[in-house]
């Protein structure tokens, strides 16, 4: 009921929600001739992440199974790492050797606590292995390589006493932690995408691009989850930043330190915004539509979330989230590069317009937003005086190439708009007819 009221108070978002639920069609439908193991894998995916399952199901068939399996393998790894009931030495051993287990056909793990909700992924791991071995060797190599790096990274953090006692120290440590948790996922997905021929090779060879894709998402979650993580006895905000504002991290949530807490949030948001330009470059380099949407949707959700947490003291005491209707609107609008850029520009300008003058990073936030706007200008170069040709920079050429593909998505959007308007007209007509009949 609360959700319905929320939607009704935002007609634009209500429209987006209805379109998304009833009108929009995926580009590729479900596949036939599926093995029982593959069916079971998708069930496991849905059991562990309903939202991610929906996203993966819409991927191009060439990538769908590989990404699904990549997700499940990492989920299995994460399930070992997260379970506090497993003895540390055993956990480290499993994590470090996890990549090797992918070579087997029947390995499984029954060491999770019965309460661990995702343990089923490890108990039924042979099913995952079966489908893993159906993948092309290039895809298998990517999944195994990332699993190896991530498993060792996780083991490293378990053994890192300072990290476990005091959390993340420097901004550099913060980036490194986010690299292991999210940057590696970005790396793996990028290798899969390029191997499939759906992305330009330089996103594969320039680590900064896929790292930014991962780090932007992870940092957004870390900033937003302050209160939740604190309640769980964890902290991921870098000491180098928060120690400017408080002696102890929990102090930021106190009423008397609220302003300092907000200043700290704003500095972390500023740090996250440094990844935006790389995200534009990455998205400009994706040439297959379902893959583009797969990459774009989380990024536009993240910038909307960053704008929500920016200068928002509620972050310090509760879990803030963007509205469901906003989510629907973002999903529909982010199917084109034009749409993504428009979304990012809207939210970074919103951040800029709300940064208080007294904030210690007032000018830095403004300059970072300006830098993003300058880069957008570079991608478009549509405000040149007569006779001046665009600079043929790599960013410009990538964006223009991607804009051409946007042209194929527009008819879909127009068709949806038409169907929505027709449905609205029919509904209005019926209601009017009933009204006059009763009258």
């Amino acid at each position: 009921m609360v959700k319905a009221l929320e939607l009704l108070s935002n007609p634009v978002e209500l429209k987006a929600a209805l379109k998304l639920k009833y009108i929009r069609q995926p580009l590729f439908g479900p596949r036939d001739a599926v093995s029982p193991e593959l069916t079971r894998c998708y069930q496991l995916l849905k059991a562990t992440s309903r939202s991610f399952a929906a996203v993966i199901q819409e991927l191009h068939p060439e990538l769908r199974d590989a990404v699904m399996l990549f997700y499940l393998v990492l989920r299995a790894l994460d399930t070992v790492e997260d379970d506090m009931s497993i003895e540390p030495q055993l956990k480290i051993s499993v994590l470090r050797s996890f990549a090797e287990k992918l070579n087997s056909t029947d390995w499984s793990f029954d060491g999770n606590s019965p309460e661990e909700k995702d343990r089923i992924v490890l108990v039924e791991f042979p099913c995952i292995l079966h489908e893993y071995h159906q993948l092309r060797p290039q895809y298998r190599r990517v999944i195994q390589d990332i699993t190896d790096k991530m498993g060792n990274g996780m083991a490293h953090y378990i053994l890192d006493e300072q990290f476990n006692l005091q959390g993340v120290q420097t901004v550099k440590d913060y980036d490194l932690y986010c690299h292991y948790v999210a940057g590696l996922v970005g790396e793996g997905l990028t290798h899969l995408i390029v191997e499939a021929g759906f992305g330009e090779p330089d996103i594969d060879t320039n680590p900064q691009l896929y790292e930014s894709m991962g780090l932007f998402l992870q940092k957004t979650n870390i900033i937003r989850d302050y209160a939740e993580d604190l309640a769980d006895g964890r902290s991921f905000w870098p000491r180098e930043v928060w120690s400017k504002y408080a002696e102890k991290l929990p102090d930021l949530g106190d009423v008397q330190h609220r302003q300092k807490g907000v200043n700290c949030i704003n500095e972390l948001v500023l740090n996250a915004l440094s990844h935006v330009i790389d995200i534009f470059t990455y998205l400009s380099s994706i040439n297959e539509q379902t893959t583009f949407q797969f990459c774009a949707i989380p990024q536009v959700m993240a910038i909307a979330t960053l704008a929500l947490v920016f200068n928002n003291e509620k972050v310090l005491t509760e879990n803030v989230k963007i509205r469901k209707g906003t989510t629907c609107e973002l999903i529909l609008k982010s199917r084109t590069l034009h749409g993504c850029i428009s979304i990012f520009r809207h939210y970074v300008r919103d951040i800029k317009s709300r940064v208080p003058v007294h904030d210690p990073n007032y000018l830095k936030v403004n300059i970072q937003v300006a830098r993003i706007e300058q880069h957008i200008e570079e991608m478009y170069q549509d405000k040149l005086p007569e006779g001046v040709k665009p600079r043929e920079t790599i960013y410009y050429k990538k964006a223009q190439k991607r804009f051409k593909q946007d042209g194929k998505v527009l008819p879909l959007e127009q068709d949806e708009e038409y169907k929505f308007n027709m449905a609205l007209t029919v509904l209005f007509t019926i209601v009017s007819a009933i009204y006059f009949y009763v009258k």
Partner: protein
């Protein structure tokens, strides 16, 4: 560059000129520095200038006088001329014509005659501005047929003269640098003007929607660009790539106009919680009314259509060419630059 390569800084006693003295002074080995200006280097210098004035040879004279310029080139034996002399905004048209056009013409002619090898001219980013928005402009943007004002018009004419005077055959190489919004110690217009606005209680007003990007450039960075341009012109391996070229010079940190203003005001303790926003058309109208009534009362108007147009315009630039060909990198960022400027103002020199 070395002692055997004397540098002549035209306008070296002025705002930008003093920064030029400092940057050339800091070179190793240090070149012999000569300054030519209508008045001497100030006796009282900001603490931020560390050069020894006694090591700088001053020559007094008139830029438009062929005799004066000949004398200084004869005495200094300068191989490099850096021309940063220019009247400030707000002068009469004939002053601009006299200094910017006639003065530059004279300087070019005499420099060439005396065998000067490198000529660096301080032009202005304003040469391409005539009131229309400038989005990430680079050096391919044209100079408009109708200039915004006399200052920009004469700077454009002078720049054109300088670049046309470039001649490999005659071993006379020239460059024009186009700085945008110069500020720093010695600045009497930009930062002091903004401080005055706050003191008059006008910082609560915002003209325009504050989505317009603006370029400021710290004076020390502008001076750096001049040193780099000089070095490139004197180096046979790089000379031909930069000779005869114009370069935009900024801090490579465009920011929203009012963010820059508020940063200055904040440092002075002025923070307005409630800002009154006037849209661009309203701001222009207010400018016309202000100008009209000020003329009626015989007073200098605070707000004019010119200023309203300037403040609401988008004016930022792409400095890729300077970064690639001059190896330019702004060493002092905007925030540091503002701090240095305010520190200088507090010295009350």
């Amino acid at each position: 560059m070395s002692n055997e390569c004397p540098i002549l800084l035209i306008g070296g006693a002025g705002f930008l000129g003093l920064h030029l003295v400092q940057q050339f002074y800091d070179l190793t080995p240090r070149p012999r520095i000569h300054v030519f200006d209508v008045r001497p280097i100030p006796e009282k210098l900001s603490k931020q200038f560390t050069f020894d004035p006694r090591e700088v040879i001053f020559h007094q004279g008139d830029l438009t006088s062929s005799e004066d310029v000949s004398n200084v080139l004869l005495k200094s034996k300068a191989q490099v001329v850096v021309h940063s002399a220019s009247p400030m905004h707000g002068n009469a048209q004939n002053v601009y014509e006299h200094v910017n056009v006639k003065g530059t013409r004279n300087l070019l002619d005499v420099s060439k005659k005396f065998g000067v090898k490198a000529f660096v001219y301080t032009s202005s980013a304003g040469v391409i501005f005539n009131g229309q928005d400038i989005h990430n402009a680079d050096e391919t943007w044209p100079i408009p047929d109708i200039a915004m004002d006399g200052y920009n018009e004469t700077k454009a004419i002078a720049e054109n003269m300088v670049l046309k005077a470039n001649s490999v055959e005659e071993n006379f190489l020239t460059v024009a640098l186009r700085p945008a919004g110069i500020f720093g110690p010695g600045d009497r217009q930009l930062v002091p003007g903004l401080r005055n606005v706050a003191k008059l209680g006008q910082s609560k007003f915002q003209l325009g929607d504050n989505n317009n990007l603006f370029d400021w450039t710290y004076a020390g960075n502008v001076a750096d660009a001049h040193v780099l341009a000089t070095q490139k012109l004197l180096n046979p391996e790089t000379a031909l790539k930069v000779a005869g070229e114009a370069f935009f010079i900024t801090n490579d940190e465009p920011a929203y106009f009012w963010a820059l203003a508020r940063t200055v005001w904040k440092a002075d303790g002025y923070i307005d919680e409630n800002v009154i926003v006037l849209s661009k058309p309203v701001a222009l109208l207010a400018g016309y009314l202000s100008e009209f009534f000020s003329k009626l009362l015989g007073k200098e108007p605070g707000l004019t259509p010119f200023r309203a147009k300037i403040v609401c315009a988008t004016r930022y630039h792409n400095v890729t060419k300077a970064k690639e060909l001059l190896d330019y990198e702004p060493r002092v960022n905007i925030e540091e630059g503002i701090e240095k400027t305010l520190a200088w103002m507090d010295e009350k020199i």
